[in-house]
């Protein structure tokens, strides 16, 4: 098969895996909770807290709530992209095909990240409902660019976390415990300057932090240089994660075939 037709075939897999994931998530109560209910309740809470503050803060809350939706879905749904297939016994069927497993995972995480954007849209609409006006995004161009890279960096995170969960069940146990710490360290609802100084490096190694920084900056009219810097950091992490991911996938597939863990009884 030529490279070009191989690429075409893999692109087709990405789209059909994404379509599949979207279709099965559509009826999943947990997904609905993570991308609609939880972010809108947190946003409602924040809006009521805001009452006496200026309207500039509204868009800040919308972005923050949207980020919680993106993170929760990345952690729980993208994290499960491989182990879920193992539970249903479909992982062996996937591995048996000529499609590399990471292509399937890219498709699934693409769907997860795109559907998580519903959180941002829902809280944006809620803001309109509560305050009677839709908040404005001050730098739409920068915002679009930031959002584009935020989506890619969440996909790259999903790509790295799903093989990790398979390789190491201990990591999976941390899953529940990782939701709120990243809400905090990511600076979704308050600047990380409020946290003790030693936590700052932790924030810096989290792509969600740079995503939140870029989006917050672009929506409330922050300095362009700062937004571009945050985008640059996202690109850096996408590259680093990409390299690690390639090795991880090779390792899990070989390890699973040695240790007979492609399937969970």
């Amino acid at each position: 098969m030529s490279d070009l037709s191989n690429l075409r075939a893999n692109l087709r897999v990405i789209f059909s895996a994404a379509e599949m994931a979207l279709r099965s998530n559509l009826t999943d109560g947990f997904v609905f909770f993570g991308i609609v209910i939880q972010p809108t309740i947190i946003a409602l809470l924040a809006f009521w807290m805001l009452r006496d503050q200026g309207n500039d803060a509204i868009i800040y809350v919308v972005i923050g709530s949207g980020m919680t939706g993106l993170w929760t879905m990345a952690l729980f749904i993208s994290g499960q992209a491989i182990s879920g297939e193992r539970w249903t016994g479909t992982l062996e069927m996937l591995v048996a095909t000529p499609t590399p497993l990471y292509i399937v995972v890219i498709g699934k995480t693409l769907a997860n990240v795109l559907q998580s954007l519903v959180a941002m849209v829902a809280t944006y609409a809620l803001a309109g409902l509560v305050f009677g006006v839709l908040p404005r995004i001050l730098r739409p161009g920068m915002f679009t660019l930031s959002l584009f890279f935020a989506v890619i960096s969440y996909i790259s995170f999903g790509l790295i976390i799903s093989p990790l969960f398979v390789l190491n069940p201990q990591v999976r146990r941390l899953q529940n415990g990782l939701e709120f710490p990243v809400y905090i360290l990511g600076g979704f609802f308050f600047p990380i300057a409020l946290l003790p100084g030693w936590t700052t490096p932790l924030s810096y190694i989290l792509p969600p932090y740079w995503a939140a920084r870029a989006l917050h900056g672009a929506s409330s009219g922050g300095a362009v240089s700062d937004i571009l810097f945050a985008i640059g950091m996202m690109i850096l992490f996408i590259l680093i994660y990409g390299m690690i991911t390639a090795r991880l996938f090779q390792r899990i597939l070989y390890k699973a075939r040695v240790e007979a863990t492609l399937v969970r009884q």
Partner: protein, 323 residues
């Protein structure tokens, strides 16, 4: 020409035993087996549960790496050439798993079609043909979660055939199916062989192996204990007769004495409703009946039959000898 060549295949699992004082234990699932399958042949791997059939199939289908030994399929090595091999073989594992239950049968096939890098147009044409072949044409649009076990199994067959593989592995395909479902599936398998596919089938149903396979290997405790055509395997017990004795109540106390008799070659017990049936393989035939009944003094005995051995008796003998 040999399509599949297996030599000295071994697979060892490491298991952790004990909750507090953990110790490693090695479990030998497949213990140095060799066999080969010719092109277009339907080969049966027959054995009791836990004999190593599934482990063997997983290694053959590149899902498990052998501890020792080698497998070549279509001239390709299952470990080194796994990728190349995968697009030329198809497999189904018994049971209901391995499908996306929330999607329809057609969607499942369409998805796997793209995973196998098939041309979308060709897939669209092929899916109805496959559904027709496995008898799911009417139900293709329905979600898999509503399928019966047999339907899921037949959908698996369709999935395994999507990319028109040259070699097929069917691991316990009729496991847990009702008699009608199992019969339908056997018809499908026969049709596949007519298309000249090379097929390896594992089963623990004697009748199934007898009816479908040209050659059978009996596997027990990870080792192949016999190999040959169904007729050849039957000849193992051709010099024997089988005496069936219906008994009521427990006969456990008598078993050691019975087994020790020179006219008893193999003995097994079958439960049939409220009675049990002793199956005794004996070279003495009808002449063994009266000494046998003498030994069973005090047991309520029902019908006694002396008959010709079947493939099942050969199997019992092979598996029993090893105990």
């Amino acid at each position: 020409m040999n399509v599949i060549e297996v030599s000295n295949l071994r697979r060892v699992y490491n298991a952790n035993v004990g909750a507090i004082r953990r110790s490693h234990k090695e479990i030998v699932a497949v213990d140095g087996i060799s066999f080969h399958i010719e092109g277009g042949e339907l080969f049966g791997l027959l054995g009791p549960n836990g004999a190593g059939k599934t482990t063997t199939v997983k290694m053959l289908t590149t899902m498990l790496i052998p501890t020792d030994g080698s497998i070549r399929i279509l001239g390709l090595d299952v470990v080194r050439d796994a990728k190349k091999l995968r697009s030329r073989i198809g497999f189904i594992y018994g049971g209901e798993r391995g499908l996306y239950w929330r999607l329809s049968g057609i969607d499942n096939l369409r998805y796997f079609g793209s995973l196998y890098h098939l041309d979308p147009q060709a897939t669209r044409k092929r899916i109805p043909e496959l559904l027709e072949m496995v008898g799911l044409s009417e139900r293709g649009e329905e979600k898999v979660e509503g399928y019966s076990r047999g339907m899921k199994q037949r959908l698996h067959v369709a999935r395994a055939l999507l990319h028109d593989p040259e070699v097929l592995f069917l691991d316990e395909p009729t496991l847990g199916l009702d008699p009608v479902g199992a019969r339908d599936l056997r018809t499908i398998i026969r049709n596949l062989q007519a298309e000249n596919k090379t097929i390896l089938l594992t089963t623990h149903y004697m009748l199934e192996a007898d009816a479908l396979c040209q050659r059978i290997a009996v596997i027990n405790k990870g080792k192949i204990v016999a190999e040959g055509s169904p007729a050849e395997l039957k000849s193992i017990v051709s010099d024997l007769s089988v005496i069936e004795v219906e008994v009521f109540g427990s006969v456990d106390d008598f078993l050691p004495t019975l087994r020790a008799q020179s006219f008893v070659d193999a003995l097994s017990i079958e439960n049939r409703e409220q009675k049990q049936v002793l199956l005794i393989q004996s070279p003495a035939g009808a002449e063994a009946v009266s000494p046998l009944l003498g030994l069973l003094a005090g047991v309520r005995v029902g019908k006694v039959i002396v008959r010709e051995p079947t493939l099942e008796d050969a199997y019992i003998r092979l598996v029993e000898e090893d105990v």
